[in-house]
């Protein structure tokens, strides 16, 4: 099977075979990150532009490191230091960047659907690094890689995602990806932070914190966004931590060998007690390491291989 996608705008519509291909490729990339000289010439001469409208530590650095490990040249643009402050539109900004012939545009934006808007107007390969509350496909891919690495498989696992589901692109992409790979996903959070029609996402809604963690193989916690405090969505961080925070007593209910994940950054003491953040179940730092490998794999598949090349030349453009 060869890679034919030109862009990665989300995991919606991405097949289990494609996901497996990314994870398998990431496996070999991970080895590079352990060498004394962490560089291969695969993407030498290619340019990757990181276009981040929203602040980011992990994703942005991860993409940057990933591209450089493959010998690509990287350039970064953030909204606050670009002409967006002068009122330039998203499309004009993107077309301007495209005129400089990058091989790939990695975009993070606060509006859901921004990458789709760009994909309609640009020929360049586009990777969605997170759009509004819609999708964060590379996060879900690295999450799946981490689960597969730790537990040996994805199919048949029970994965519980707990927290502010309604505003979470990480949750959405994970539900789509994990379900495609045959895992069962449970969602839980304060009722005001569950999206309406949550079943439409393809996961079951747990009725309580205990139900959510009971016999789970994977517990994925989401960050509480403090901005949401102002929005009448829950009364206080204290109550959130008491009722929806993950502590060691919950781990006793999960399956033996269960792992705890978090996309970061973690609000210690809010969604997770420090004992869990630093405890034996936590794979949070593995996620970060795997993030580089997964992004290397994606860049390779999208702009490194012959197929990726053909795709961006429009020969077999899909998505």
């Amino acid at each position: 099977m060869s890679w034919t996608r030109r862009n990665l705008l989300g995991l919606a519509g991405v097949s289990a075979d494609e996901i497996t291909m990314v994870l398998d490729t990431a496996q070999s990339m991970k080895e590079i990150n352990r060498r004394p000289i962490k560089k291969v010439p695969t993407l030498r001469g290619k340019s990757v532009i990181n276009f981040f409208y929203e602040p980011s530590t992990r994703t942005k650095t991860s993409f940057d490191v990933a591209a450089k490990r493959l010998s690509a040249d990287t350039f970064s643009l953030s909204a606050s230091t670009s002409s967006i402050t002068k009122g330039e539109t998203l499309i004009d900004t993107a077309m301007t960047l495209q005129a400089m012939s990058p091989d790939c545009l990695v975009i993070r934006h606060s509006s859901s659907g921004a990458p789709h808007l760009l994909a309609q107007h640009l020929d360049t390969c586009i990777i969605n690094a997170g759009d509004g509350t819609h999708e964060h496909p590379t996060q879900a891919l690295l999450d799946m890689f981490t689960i597969r690495e730790r537990l040996g498989r994805l199919e048949g696992l029970t994965v519980s995602i707990i927290g502010d589901i309604s505003h979470s692109r990480v949750a959405r992409s994970n539900v789509i990806g994990l379900t495609a790979m045959g895992a069962k996903v449970r969602l839980f959070g304060p009722p005001t932070l569950l999206p309406p029609f949550v079943e439409t996402l393809g996961a079951e809604a747990a009725g309580s914190m205990d139900q959510a963690v009971q016999d789970a193989d994977v517990i994925m916690m989401l960050r509480v966004q403090r901005e949401r405090l102002n929005d009448v969505l829950f009364p206080s961080l204290r109550e959130y931590a008491q009722r929806f925070g993950l502590g060691p007593r919950h781990m006793a209910k999960a399956k033996p060998g269960a792992i705890v994940m978090h996309p970061g950054p973690v609000n210690r003491g809010v969604e997770m007690s420090p004992a869990v953040v630093d405890g034996p179940w936590s794979v949070i730092l593995d996620q970060v390491a795997n993030g580089v490998a997964v992004r290397m794999a994606l860049l390779y598949l999208l702009i490194g291989t012959e197929a990726g090349q053909d795709a961006s030349d429009g020969k077999e453009a899909r998505s």
Partner: protein, 424 residues
């Protein structure tokens, strides 16, 4: 100048006429209707196989002039109206400056003279649409406004809207209500439903409209004023209007072609040409709105024609302006609904002529002799493909791009003047 329309199906719900026959226009008036008419000196127009209806009336359009002429002007909007079979449109006051004084009303009427359709201004309920002070409705009525509305926005304060209804009634002005609970709709860009959840977009629940429609209907009951509920989009609103009418409130209502034809899923992959307020709703809502229009609970079909430029639409979905154009596709979509079995042709024509005229007390909307020579000649079998690039409107933001519609107005006559003609 005399025009003789021969052999068409004369369809005039206002006068209960539906029969084959001729229609004679003399100057700006309908001189004779029905049967076989001899008028050798008149220009004969063969209408065999066509429906001859009163010129269509749209009680809800945005013509953007003064202030946003890059989106539409009164001239281009009227041309769009004529192309769609309309001879009369009511333009909303959310211009810049707002139409809350006679100066702006006069400007609009001045720009409208010689335009391809009759333009009836709707004045603002409150100054600047700010919801704080009543506009000088007496002056607006005298200047020629046919109704008042703060459309684009609701009147948030119930106390304010009550007084506005009482005051407007004193001048015979119906109040057109944009019914929306802003606190419930805040932040939303599409209908709150499974599609919004999947797309990661903040939703506007149907209740944001229903709660407000209920309130506005209750105030209509309290004040006895004539109230017209704009752009009904959901089942709850249809039910609320039905109950209000039963209770004796002087409430009328309109819906738009897009609520009859499309649903929230049609937003697809963030298509901003499917973004309007109120938003496209669920399939059940669409069904209820269709039934409401067919039964007459919803009186009229209006377009809420809202032209925007690429500046407002070729952007991120949550940033895009709300609104779609509608004058040039309304009749075609209506005929599509007739073909789908959702509506009878007679009811469609009524909803576009007699009913809107009755809602706002407007002249026209009928083929009565002595009345204005406003006529739409409709070919119900003239298939065409919607192409925004070919529109008369400056606004290209249509929700129906690429649709194949089964029929259209092939000629529009306004005051005896041919304002639109499709080449054979």
């Amino acid at each position: 100048m005399r025009l003789l329309l021969t052999g068409g199906r004369l369809l005039c719900p206002a006068t209960g006429r539906d029969e084959a026959g001729d229609l004679l226009i003399d100057g700006g008036e309908i001189a004779a209707v029905g049967g076989r008419i001899e008028a050798g000196d008149a220009q004969a127009i063969d209408c065999a196989g066509r429906v001859v209806a009163p010129g269509l009336i749209d009680v809800h359009v945005h013509l953007r002039e003064p202030g946003q002429e890059y989106k539409e002007t009164i001239a281009t909007g009227a041309a769009a109206a004529a192309a769609g079979g309309f001879t009369q449109v009511c333009c909303m006051p959310n211009t810049d400056p707002v139409n809350d004084t006679r100066a702006v009303t006069d400007l609009i009427l001045d720009r409208a003279s010689g335009a391809a359709a009759r333009v009836r201004p709707v004045g603002a309920i409150t100054r600047g649409l700010a919801g704080q002070e009543l506009s000088e409705m007496g002056e607006l009525a005298e200047a020629g406004c046919v109704a008042v509305s703060d459309d684009g926005r609701p009147v948030a304060s119930s106390r304010m809207l009550r007084r506005a209804m009482e005051y407007a009634a004193g001048f015979g002005l119906p109040v057109i209500c944009h019914s929306e609970d802003l606190a419930l709709s805040a932040g939303g860009s599409m209908h709150e439903g499974p599609t919004a959840t999947r797309l990661g977009l903040e939703g506007i629940p149907a209740q944001a409209e229903v709660c407000a429609v209920e309130r506005d209907c209750q105030l209509a009951l309290l004040t006895g004023a004539r109230v017209h509920i704009a752009h009904v989009s959901c089942a709850g609103s249809v039910a609320a209007v039905a109950r209000a009418k039963e209770a004796g409130a002087r409430v009328t209502a309109e819906t738009c072609p897009h609520y009859l034809a499309l649903v929230d899923e049609d937003v697809g992959l963030y298509d901003t040409h499917k973004k309007m307020n109120p938003p496209l709703r669920s399939a059940a809502d669409r069904q209820a709105v269709r039934q409401g229009l067919a039964s007459g609970v919803i009186d009229a079909l209006a377009t809420d024609h809202a032209p925007h430029s690429v500046l407002e639409k070729l952007v991120e979905f949550d940033q895009a302006a709300f609104g779609v154009v509608g004058l040039e596709t309304a009749l075609g979509v209506g005929l599509w609904l007739v073909a789908e079995g959702a509506l009878s042709l007679a009811r469609l024509v009524e909803a576009l002529t007699a009913s809107p005229a009755a809602c706002l007390g407007l002249p026209g909307g009928s083929l009565a002799p002595g009345g204005p020579a406003d006529v739409a000649v409709i070919d119900p079998e003239r298939q065409w493909r919607v192409e925004a690039a070919a529109f008369q409107s400056l606004g290209r933001n249509t929700a129906f791009e690429g649709w194949r519609l089964p029929g259209r107005a092939i000629m529009t006559i306004c005051g005896g003047r041919i304002t639109h003609r499709v080449k054979e």
